[in-house]
Amino acid sequence: MLLRHTTNKVKEREALTVNPAKTCQPIGAMYAALGIHGCLPHSHGSQGCCSYHRSTLTRHYKEPVMAATSSFTEGASVFGGQANLLNAINTIFSVYEPEIIAVHSTCLSETIGDDLGQIIAKAREDGKIPEGKHVIHASTPSYVGSHVTGYANMLEGIVKHFAMSTDEIKRQVNLLAGWVEPADMRELKRMMSVMGIKNVLLPDTSEVLDAPMTGKHEFYPKGGTTVPEIVSMGDSMFTLGLGEWATKSAAIKLENQCKVKFALTDLPIGISATDRFVMALAKAAGVSIPEAISSERGKLMDMITDMHQYFYGKRVALWGDPDQLLPLIEFLADIDMKPVYVVSGTPGKAFSKKAHEILAEKVPEAKIKNGATADMFLMHQWIKEEPVDLLIGNTYGKYIARDENIPFVRMGFPILDRVGHSYFPTLGYMGGIRILEKILGVLMDKMDADSPEESFELVM
């Protein structure tokens, strides 16, 4: 047993987190900033943070992740990090020539009380920010929320810095992407293009974190939302935010700053959430939903009806982020699976409430927990109490999967030990088909491995 100390005796914990189902804010800020074209993320804190975030993002995307750090030492921690950040800005613009530096704070700089806005203003005063270049910032203390919060905060920071309203309304819709894969961002753009909806997608990590091998390292890959696009968001017809945790604050900021009305909808994972997404988009843009979209929906429905027997009643344990988990458990419930255990390290009371609502009728027995001590250790203990047929979550699930011999579908962040997630979307109807393909694949693999020889099946 890999996790040999995990037993089925659940003890209430108040202080100790074991095998977390979240990580800290700054990595989310870094990921969001990578979705801006020509932007270099900058970590204002100890250099270990930046190193850890770059490593984790790199292991997940198998791509270069460029970011700088203020490299605090003890002195900076005592006297404040202003000198470090000013130096950093100067060095970065000299050497790496970004359009934008996106600075996020850390637990360290937050604890000592560095005021990023003030330091950046000072940098501008001192002439350290070249003409036409930008330094934007977000406050992302690691001891509040989770990586998702950091993503949301950076998104808000971006919007705050750039979005401007002029008198002229632009016939376009803003789409604020939650924390999804480059492939998903590309899929969102494809769907909007099929629907004929001009849009600004923010952020957009496609062609950034799935960049081609060309023999040349493009320090700023060709993808990412551009500055003029972000500026223009202030003139858009409407903003749609995908996922409350990741996009709500940016959507509100945009409304307050530029009077662009917004709606929040779930990440389009599975059938019901994608239905809502498509309808919200159609409404926002005042367009009809084209046949091509209905046809994709029909393909997903087709797989659901064809394969229903394999999904029906299967017990699933999931961990990850609220914005992903909510539509995902809804999807599973829609196809008659039973998401019985759901944990997320990301806090927010709305999560348990919504999850319970989704499952109230179909899976009343579901155990749902989020926030501190809602961790993978707890989920594993629940599994030890009563097993499940399937695990869905990030790579760390593999320890449980092997110990308990449970089929395992990797979804979420980080996925460190498989590839494909950055290339093939799980959003939208076609993404739903991919999710079901994966689920069926692992369930059937287990059936094929475990069935007695006489009931080994050729056909499904």
């Binding site: 100390h5 074991v18 977390p20 800290c24 270069p64 470090n84 050497v95």
Partner: protein, 543 residues
């Protein structure tokens, strides 16, 4: 660009490329960075700036003190619950990411697959986190009943005034198990290196010698600075066992707190990674009289040399015979493979920028393959790791270093090994070298380029300039370098390969180099139509 084949015998002076690299920096930065770049002369080793603050914004390879203390040194020890006291990130990122393999026997403790954290929240920062830490320790004890718990401080801990050491003492008393803490906040020191030192101090103070010495075998050693990445330590354990040498404890790979506790029973300490572990070796010599030698098990020749050095120390005919037998047998296997692959690899060029000793050790493997190291440097080493221990007295101790406690060690009269002191004296007289390390530079070619704490910008320039055949670094560098068409070998994680230590490890490395440097996949990077004139059909569909 240099012509590889022509220049491998004699490298050109690197002044031009150094100039190119620093010229883009702001002046002050350029001045500072220039001191970290030197053209090597193994006979007359130049002074290199190292173990100094990283220039903010430079895009460094370096991590932090917490990473060095918790991630590197204590991480590989399986029978202790390592609680990260801080926000969740630090614990999360150091959770299973260093490939420290460990082999726990049935029923034995193994907490390595677990991540324990106090997951500090807003209110803990405002009102202090000691109470939560205590409660976390209690919960860990209730659930897991470990014999040892250690606590690692992250950045905010020191700032808000949490005293992890007093908490450790208090809880130790309350629970009656070993509990100790580390003040390894990320901002201390200038790199992971500070964390190593802090970890060394803590382990030495709180664990080493807490059990009675024991005699299990005739020849007892500790292996220090071997982290069992990819199973390196397993390969070495195999060799020691066959030789009849008793490996008491490894600091720290496939290791246990329990074995550290009687590590003072060793007759000799072998130091592998000089940078990260020399502190304990030094302190053990001071306290217990156990001598240490620098060895290196990366590279087949180095492994043979190191094994022989150990045998020489014990000066036992049977042991020597066993070691010679092993060396002979293993070297013949190694030679067979190197003979097979060397013709494909000879004359290729390597660069290594990583760690605090790996950038040096792996040059031995490259040498065995006929691959020239044209440029190398460390991520977090000190001048002695470049220039040799002889410069230690001359190293200026700056404020950042002064922050890391140099602990006062007093001789343990009861357990002091006078016999070993005598043995050392006799051997030294015969020319046997103890606590000697002559650094990376002495083994690098003249005119090779040595750079400390290399930045991303510098490494891209270097690659453009030298077009190396292989680049060794870490995960953050891997894909950027590869995007340039140059294969990168990770020397922290071995790219999930290995072991690379010892003889079998050398064979693995040879084969990996054969695979990486001899594949044609890099030649396919350019689309074939890039090489052709613009395609013109007989008709154009758009006209």
């Amino acid at each position: 660009m240099t012509d590889k084949k022509k220049n491998i015998k004699e490298l050109p002076d690197s002044a031009a490329i150094i100039e190119e690299m620093v010229s883009k920096y702001p002046k002050k930065v350029a001045k500072k960075r220039a001191k970290a770049m030197v053209t090597n002369d193994p006979e007359n080793k130049p002074e290199i700036q190292s173990n100094v603050r990283t220039v903010p914004g430079i895009i460094t390879q370096r991590g932090c003190t917490y990473a060095g203390c918790k991630g590197v040194i204590l991480g590989p020890t399986r029978d202790v619950i390592n609680i990260t006291h801080g926000p969740i990130g630090c614990g999360f990122y150091s959770w299973l990411t260093r490939r420290n393999q460990t082999k726990a026997g049935k029923g034995e403790e193994n907490y390595i697959p677990y991540c324990f954290s106090t997951d500090m929240q807003d209110e803990n920062i405002v009102f202090g986190g000691e109470a939560k830490l205590k409660q976390a320790i209690r919960e860990a004890y209730e659930i897991f009943k470990p014999h040892s718990i250690s606590i690692f401080s992250t950045c905010p801990v020191g700032l808000i005034g949490d005293d992890v050491h007093s908490v450790a003492r208090e809880m130790k008393k309350e629970l009656g198990i070993t509990i100790f803490g580390f003040s390894c906040e990320g901002y201390r020191g200038v790199s992971q290196s500070a964390g190593h030192h802090i970890a060394n101090n803590g382990v030495f103070t709180n664990v080493v010698g807490t059990e009675k010495p024991k005699r299990v075998g005739k020849f007892q050693i500790n292996l220090m600075g071997e982290y069992n990445i990819g199973g390196d330590a397993f390969e070495l354990e195999r060799l020691f066992e066959e030789a009849g040498i008793t490996l008491l404890s490894t600091f720290s790979g496939n290791s246990t707190i329990k074995s550290y506790a009687y590590a003072q029973s060793a007759d000799l300490n072998l130091v592998m990674c000089h940078r990260s572990i020399n502190y304990i070796a030094e302190m053990m010599e001071e306290k217990y009289g156990i001598p240490w030698v620098k060895i290196n098990f990366i590279g087949a020749e180095s492994t043979a040399k190191s094994l022989r050095k150990v045998a020489e120390f014990f000066d036992d005919a049977e042991l020597t015979e066993r070691v010679e037998k092993i060396v002979k047998r293993e070297m013949s296997k190694v030679k067979k493979v190197s003979k097979e692959v060397r013709p494909d690899l000879e004359g290729k060029l390597a660069m290594l920028f990583v760690g605090g000793s790996r950038a040096h050790h792996y040059q031995d493997l490259f040498k065995e393959l006929g691959i020239t190291t044209i440029s190398a440097g460390y991520e977090f080493a000190h001048r002695d790791d470049y220039e040799g221990r002889e410069v230690i007295p001359n190293i200026k101790v700056d404020a950042d270093t002064r922050n890391i406690e140099d602990i006062e060690v007093t001789r343990d009269d009861e357990n002091f090994r006078e016999d070993l002191v005598k043995k050392k004296q006799i051997l030294e007289e015969k020319g046997y070298k103890f606590k000697e390390y002559s650094g990376m530079m002495s083994e690098m070619d003249k005119n090779s380029l040595v750079i400390d704490d290399i930045s991303h910008w510098e490494s891209e320039k270097l690659i453009e300039y030298f077009k190396p055949d292989v680049f060794c670094a870490g995960i953050k560098e891997k894909y950027a370098v590869q995007k340039m068409g140059v294969p990168l070998k990770q020397l922290h994680s071995y790219d999930y390969g290995g072991p690379y230590a010892g003889f079998e490890g050398a064979i693995n490395f040879y084969r990996d180099m054969e695979r990486m440097l001899n594949t044609r996949i890099w030649k396919m990077v350019d689309a074939p139509w890039k090489a052709e004139p613009e395609i013109v059909g007989s008709m154009n569909i758009n006209i």
